[in-house]
Symmetry: D2
């Protein structure tokens, strides 16, 4: 085991570079994971662009698949050498928020459970220190490859939660606005929750084609059709039971409300910037019995166990989202491709 490692580090806006770093020290309750596969998230691009603030020098990345290299004091029930994943959100399990089932808001701070690649060094590196290891290490079933489970830590957990927190029920009609990786997982999640009519909206034909494979019954290209009118037509003016926002923009948020039936739920996954305004007539001036739920990626080892079950039982093949593969040494190139959304990229796999 070498004493230094390669890691992707946020240096300043528009610069994430590969650097040599000392190996993380493992403290009480921690685990050191040797990363075998990881990926880049849309949030990492926000960090890259300086839109989401992390401190300079922070190692980025929050979607680790790897092998236990070392266990700190107080960590039991695991073994060095075990293959594990760790959620993007690493709750402590023991604070007031966690004991109120608000694990993603660990420490009672907004997004407090998001530590890796945010308030602690992340996993776009050869090794990553995982805090609260007892609550966050999940062994990978032998028959699943790294790529099989690579989407569990964030994209799949988030997308599925969009369906779950929309309280989708058997027979619901659901619209999913934006069919990037999270929207695609929300589409798959809506199907798993029993939605019987799923309408996927995007502006890129390839993504809409994938939406159809993931469970969308109807795909609407907003470049060609007004999605609000099209959805109202499809539902005979009734609107949808649940609308999922998977982009983080005024237009999609607004359209969600415009197609939502009275009494329906807007399930919001997007990260908004700039301004977000309610379209009052679509919102029935506040009298439509509408619900809005926002969701940060659920984490913790029980969530990861459940998601891997879904994959193992072949209910959903998240590995389809991996379109490109890079070594860690090529990560700057990967960032370039992913931030430009070139070559039909959906998700990249990075192997240290």
């Amino acid at each position: 085991m070498t004493q230094t490692m390669q890691a992707a580090v946020y240096v300043e806006p528009n610069r994430i570079v590969l650097e040599d770093r000392p190996l993380p020290q493992v403290g009480h309750g921690d685990a050191l994971i040797r990363v075998t596969t990881t990926t880049i998230c849309g949030t990492d691009i926000h960090i890259l662009k300086g839109e989401y603030p992390v401190e300079r020098g922070r190692i980025v990345g929050h979607e680790p698949v790897g092998v236990i290299e070392e266990l700190g004091p107080g960590v039991s029930g695991y073994e060095v050498g075990q293959r594990v994943i760790v959620g993007a959100i690493t709750p402590c399990g023991q604070c007031h928020a966690c004991l109120a089932a608000d694990w993603a808001q660990c420490g009672s701070k907004p997004m407090g459970g998001w530590r890796l690649g945010n308030t602690l060094d992340g996993c776009q590196a050869e090794y990553v220190r995982v805090p609260h290891a007892m609550a966050n290490l999940t062994p990978i079933p032998d028959n699943l490859s790294d790529e099989h489970v690579l989407m569990c830590p964030d994209i799949m957990s988030t997308g599925f939660a969009g369906a779950e927190n929309g309280h989708i029920r058997i027979g619901d009609t659901v619209a999913v606005f934006a069919q990037g990786p999270i929207g695609l997982c929300a589409t798959a999640g809506a199907k798993l929750c029993g939605a019987s009519t799923i309408i996927g909206v995007d502006g890129i034909a390839a993504r809409l084609e994938m939406a159809t494979r993931f469970g969308a019954d109807v795909a609407i290209n907003y470049q060609e059709d007004d999605p609000v009118q099209a959805i109202l037509d499809l539902t005979n003016g009734r609107g949808v039971d649940v609308a999922i926002e998977a982009l983080g923009a005024q237009s999609t948020f607004e359209n969600c409300l415009r197609v939502l039936r009275p009494g329906g739920t807007l399930s919001s996954l997007g990260v908004y910037s700039g301004k977000l305004t309610m379209p009052l007539e679509a919102f029935a001036a506040g009298l439509g019995d509408h619900k809005i739920a926002t969701t940060l990626c659920p984490g913790g080892k029980e969530r990861m166990r459940r998601l891997m079950n879904v994959i193992e039982s072949q209910r959903f093949n998240a590995a389809q989202l991996v379109t490109h593969r890079f070594s860690l040494a090529q990560i700057e190139e990967a960032y370039e491709l992913f931030s430009q959304q070139r070559d039909g990229v959906l998700k990249v796999a990075i192997t240290p």
Copy 2:
């Protein structure tokens, strides 16, 4: 039974006048109620000012207490002469929305269940025709006076629903922004739901004093203190579990989010006009696991029965809200007082 009656009619913006009208004809499934007491709602003031559109010539009013005068074909289980109340919202019980428990959105139209004084003639009159009588007539227990139950049709049903749809639980800390009649009922509802710290916010000392009587543990006068800072101080920076908006304004909506803990619920009762914008940092850019629930007054006879039970069992005395009394002949005067919010008026009782 005379063949004409007096009724308060919306003539044009800023003019609601008492007119003579023919008695309503009772059709299939209808009941004719002789109104013994009714009241004026904040919504009626919006109608008066032309801010909420009803057609010219509409008899206004949606909070009837009265006596059954006549029952239409197909209405059984009631008797002429029975004292009854009818909710502000009169669901049919038989459409798709009603059969999905979205009674206030009856007919799958936004606010579709609100008929009286909106899409049908209302109850600021000597008589009112009640549609879907089987689903909407609730006998008044003998030991309750008209004023005891006068708030059930709207104010109390709405205010309590603000607490219920906030999913308030035992031990919660709750802030209620605005302590008008609905906010006061929301305060009382929060206490009934088990909130252990209730913070009432308003700018009028008399309303804050009443808030304290209705269950608020702390009363904050926003004329004197910054309510956001005061609430964060009171909760040691933690924020509240549930924030109830009971005004319908950008400032109160925004403040609700500013004092809401991650994972908390904003329960919105207000009717918004103009613009409504999300304060993105308070909204954690969409990542705070926040929920927003909007509520239109629940109606139907089962809701009314339950609310009258609350009054009968002396859990809450809604009659305290009646500060002024007028005959129907004086209703224009009552509108003047109520719309100006003079003389510390909270609610008026109108007796035809």
Copy 3:
């Protein structure tokens, strides 16, 4: 339109016979349906055997597919000649129970919503009178045949509700005890709700084979293996999140608790007779945070609309359950086959 019709009538225990009957008279709020297809339910067999009491002379059957023949006063929004289904449960929508969303317990009486073939004449006949037509007639989409939708009124609604009321979530492990028509629909419902490991238990190989087609990941034949031990082995001793009872027997009820994890839900669909005893150690003496939910078939036109959506969108093909076909004239023969469970019968289609 003839003035008499043929109908299957309960005469006395072990005798349901075809008789001539006058056509039903349509009253206020009613519809007369000309039955085009119907079926026999397990409950009808209980009636036949005298185990479930209906009055002598009652026309049996509660699963109608047909065409509107006549509409009573007060019924609007439908047309004579329209193809419709009606749920086994026909709630009024306007009583206290219905307005509390307890539609199956209409009138606040246990099973009060079950009228057809129970407290009113049913649909194993050429015509059936449907009460509360406004709440209960659901038009059939043109592209669906009678057999496509024949399971919606009861079997599919009940089975799916077993999954829904078990609050199955994505990633759950679920056991379904008994794979008759209702258990098979519960299996399909569990899959639609996102269960990732579904274990079907029965003693008949053909049913287990069908369970696998309907979504079961594992099929256990209790004639060959102890299902409790097998399920505990499969789940590494953890037990299942939700266990569905679809038979109505002490042994299956008990086994559900024996395989249920602490905190899990037993969703009970069976109709029990004789004695039902809790296995206290499996019930953790009442300290296991277990939930038990019992369910009567949900009805009403919104439920029917949703179920037909599921079929139309090809999420589930309930028509596979129809194994035998008879004319109404042959209904006594159909009862004989179905009550004996001969020839691998699952469900029969009866066409007047």
Copy 4:
């Protein structure tokens, strides 16, 4: 700090005696608490009688109020000398069950969260070692005495959970069978949840009198009246929305179902022994849409914080339940009194 301490030890059936024991050693994640007040629970009497198995030599007691004496490695955010309470249930917060919000079933074992005085040494002693201290130590507000908070760890948490898990809503009618300490807390909890008619049932007049003080609107002495008939009369045959079982006996369980309306919830708090049989006609043979929820005392520091808030805000004064006081030296005497239920004892306070 002495190196030995006095402790109440289960020796054999019918013998719990005071013994000298070495002080507990504090390990990783643990805290040592100097007990200042504790109490005896009904469960301890089951242990005493040999009805609930704990190993011989086990120090009993699971309701500690005390002062932090020592903190083990890995415990931060607390200080030696702080006054704290610890719930009867001490979840780890980090296992699969805890991360699924099933804290009482920690470790995915039935009752796995109940450690103190069960699988670990308890707190009827001068000192107690608290495992998973980060998740379980809750500072006591300065203005609350030991006796103010003494019921939080078990009786109040359990009783309130009976109301909460019954999903009591504003306007509900609720029956609570048995008005011992837990039933009384369930009665208080029902009131806090908004029940508008609460019916307390017991056979002891003094307890019924206290039930009335705790929120019961009606008190029924089953020695004088048939409680089932009385409740059906009170509710005009409708039955109650929620029935809470707070004894653990066939008769009360059965009566709960007999008074429960279709669609209602039986919330069970009792620990059952012997046989538990469903009364099938009251259970509507499984077709009444009844729910049964069983509950083990919720624990963890967030639960304790909330319960102390309820007391601090004077919503409920649990200290009223303390009827007798003993020193630890007198604990055998206290057990004798409490197990015989002499002198109107409700709860005893034990001070080491």
